[in-house]
Symmetry: C2
């Protein structure tokens, strides 16, 4: 451990009330948590006094909030050493968080070698395998024996993010021959050639532009500890490790829940999203939905005469509309996950439609019966008088619910397929979007049923 690095304590830091010793004995995750609770300056002064190795571990944690701002607060030389020590994928992450000016300022602090590996990763868009891969992996030529490989791992162990996957390369072309796990390696005989270990299946690999969700799926279904990222000539550019994938899965599911709620996806901690940013993330969708929902006002205007004649019909509009939206949101949530988990493909849309129509009709009938009982009960118990035609009104509400809930289930289940067909992420289908889609049609269905059943009596 480099305990001598504790000495360059800054004058301002010396006055800080945070006990240094307490920080050093903590797990990295706990240090991160405490730093997140402090203001930027205090957190920076704590980091300055940690051994560089510990500071690197702290910056390597994706849970560290304001990592970009924090590293800018550190003395230049220290910032450069931390960036060099960090895993390249996480350093890229931090650079992605900064704007152009700070980005350049930070890159100016690193040595040429680190700069080169960072620039390789920065070339890939966020959310791809290339952007989350690490270039610090273990590789040996296919001519090595088990003993030679073990010796090599011992030498490089400290500088590699993971040593559990060993990439066996063709000595001439440097293309990937196979991936041997550390487990297979230690089970092998010292003089055995490394290429003889493990099964002879084609290794699971990805490309730099593979989406992180697909990388996560491959690692998860094949129970891998890392997956190599290959270029077009099948040379290893880097690897994505299981840790990175867990972080990616957690980030994806945060985005999915937020998108489903109708918010632009964000991984920033809630309390750290600025006011203007928060408005921006929410106002866009809210306005779009509001403008879409304006069609309900147009639909209502269209039925203005009927509304004036039978105000009693308006009493059930919120009830009926929301039931359509709710059933749609249920169907959408089921289908988003089924598509994300690969349980369904695009061509299965027809099988889903054939299931959703009877499901929706049954659910609508259940709600319809409850609705009719409610109207009859209020009428009979004298709680409210729906007029002489109350039986027909109850029937209108019941039949309307069957139609609207069926339509809601169908529309809600088809929306993720439609988005996927158009090349969007099916998870962009949000509950508010489904509700808006169903609301307008729901009103038209309700008034059409009313016109059909009540013509000659109320209308």
């Amino acid at each position: 451990m480099q305990d001598n690095l504790l000495t360059p304590v800054e004058a301002s830091a010396a006055a800080s009330p945070v006990p240094d010793r307490a920080f050093q004995d903590l797990h990295v995750a706990d240090i991160v948590e405490r730093l997140n609770e402090q203001d930027l300056e205090t957190a920076a002064s704590v980091l300055v006094r940690l051994p560089v190795e510990r500071a690197v571990e702290v910056f390597d944690r994706p849970e560290l909030a304001r990592a970009g701002e924090l590293i800018l607060e550190l003395p230049e030389e220290l910032a450069g050493r931390i960036l060099k020590g960090m895993s390249a994928d996480r350093a890229t992450d931090i650079l992605h968080q900064l704007d152009g000016h700070d980005h350049a300022k930070l890159l100016a602090r690193v040595d040429p070698e680190t700069l080169k590996s960072l620039q390789l990763l920065l070339a890939y868009p966020e959310g791809t395998a290339g952007s989350i891969m690490t270039t610090e992996f273990v590789s040996v030529p296919a001519t090595y024996t088990v003993a030679q490989t073990l010796e090599h791992i011992r030498e490089v162990e400290r500088t590699r993010e993971t040593v559990y996957a060993i990439h066996v390369l063709d000595p001439a072309t440097r293309t990937l021959v196979k991936v041997v796990t550390l487990r297979q390696l230690i089970a092998g005989e010292p003089q055995q050639p490394i290429v003889e270990l493990g099964p002879n299946r084609e290794p699971i690999t990805v490309k730099g532009d593979t989406h992180r969700e697909e990388v996560a799926r491959l690692i998860s279904i094949h129970d891998l500890l890392a997956v190599p990222v290959l270029n077009a000539r099948r040379q290893v550019l880097g690897i994505v490790t299981v840790d990175d994938v867990i972080d990616a899965i957690v980030a994806e599911s945060t985005e999915d829940v937020q998108k489903f709620g109708g918010v632009e996806g964000t991984v920033e901690p809630y309390l750290q999203i600025g006011f203007a940013n928060m408005i921006r993330k929410r106002a866009g969708w809210l306005c779009a939905l509001f403008i879409g929902e304006m069609l309900t006002a147009s639909a209502m205007q269209h039925f203005e005469d009927e509304l004036a004649k039978a105000v009693v019909l308006t009493l059930f509009i919120p009830l009926i509309m929301s039931s359509g939206g709710n059933s749609g949101s249920q169907a959408t949530s089921l289908l988003i996950r089924a598509l994300a988990l690969g349980q369904l493909r695009l061509r299965d849309w027809w099988r889903v439609a054939v299931r959703e129509i009877p499901t929706g009709a049954t659910l609508g009938a259940i709600l319809g019966v409850i609705g009719m009982i409610r109207i009859a009960a209020w009428q009979k118990l004298g709680i409210f008088d729906y007029g002489p035609h109350w039986r027909m009104i109850a029937l209108t509400v019941g039949a309307g619910l069957v139609g609207i809930v069926t339509f809601g289930s169908l529309a809600g289940s088809m929306l993720p397929f439609a988005l996927k067909r158009l090349g969007f992420d099916p998870a962009s289908a949000s509950a508010p979007f489904v509700a808006t889609l169903v609301d307008v049609t729901g009103l038209v269905i309700y008034f059409s049923v009313a016109l059909l059943l009540l013509r000659g009596t109320l209308l």
Copy 2:
């Protein structure tokens, strides 16, 4: 490889059109995918003809659908061998899927030793660390050297789910002293005592009843490959591996999206949920929401006189109500994730409320201005005549939106806190539930604003 096990081909299987050879050269995940597409009998006949080791690997994959039904289809002796070969945690999973009768039938097929380890896991409720842990882990006494430990790992490697975490136990009490990684082990000197390796921090551990979500969080933030499950005497009962955790995280996020959509959480693939089951999963919440939403009818009945006098007010009811629901659903989705990721604690509710009120008011004002422009435009362009008081109606809609969107954001953000406070999972807050909550209040706000602004003119 036990290739001789290919010979006992059943008569019925011999006639099957599935090419055996093709299956053997595939990755396990691909075999699983193909089996999932076949009917139960064909899938079983394929499994019978695979080497037992491969069949075990297939059953070890959580992606294998109908695993319980499939294993019941196999000859008794083979089923027993597969259950013995499988990781205990996955076998428990399969047993959890079966009803009491089949459960007992399957347990009767296993040897006493396997039975004992399965019964240990079966005692833990689903969703806990105990239910997903494996009892096949590597442990050595604290007196071992690096060389002895490596030798031990080579011997037991085939029968352990993971060898990447080595559990160092007190030789007398068998309590956990520390966890050494395989990486640290191979970096060590052969004659070095194992207890000297790795940092001397308290190892991260869980208890049998720790929720899988918490286990996932610990593995993820500490970048572990496995976490030990301890009993009250700090002895190791089993370990939860990173693979199991990825599966748990994926299952959790499926449940979270479904719950947010208002469906009872399910991990069954969509097309395999029976019709009756599908209705059951959706009807419960849909009926509960419907009954809650009936309060909107009561609210409307309360304002019946106003409605009759000013039918024009009803035109904007769906628009206004849905905006409240949408802003609520946005806030809920943000807060659910912030709480799940530990970015916020229960005591932070006040800080959130203080942020949501101005956010909601601003968003409401934006929508209000759009709404007022829409009314003015339609009036001026002669598309629709809102009557002589259209200016006041526009103002009512605008002011109503500010009130309702503010209330929606506040209610939507407080709901996850309220659920957590009451001991429920904050992720049980669904978009439909928030919408229903906001709809009733939204109507009351709208009509109250109308009464205030339109009294003496329209009302």
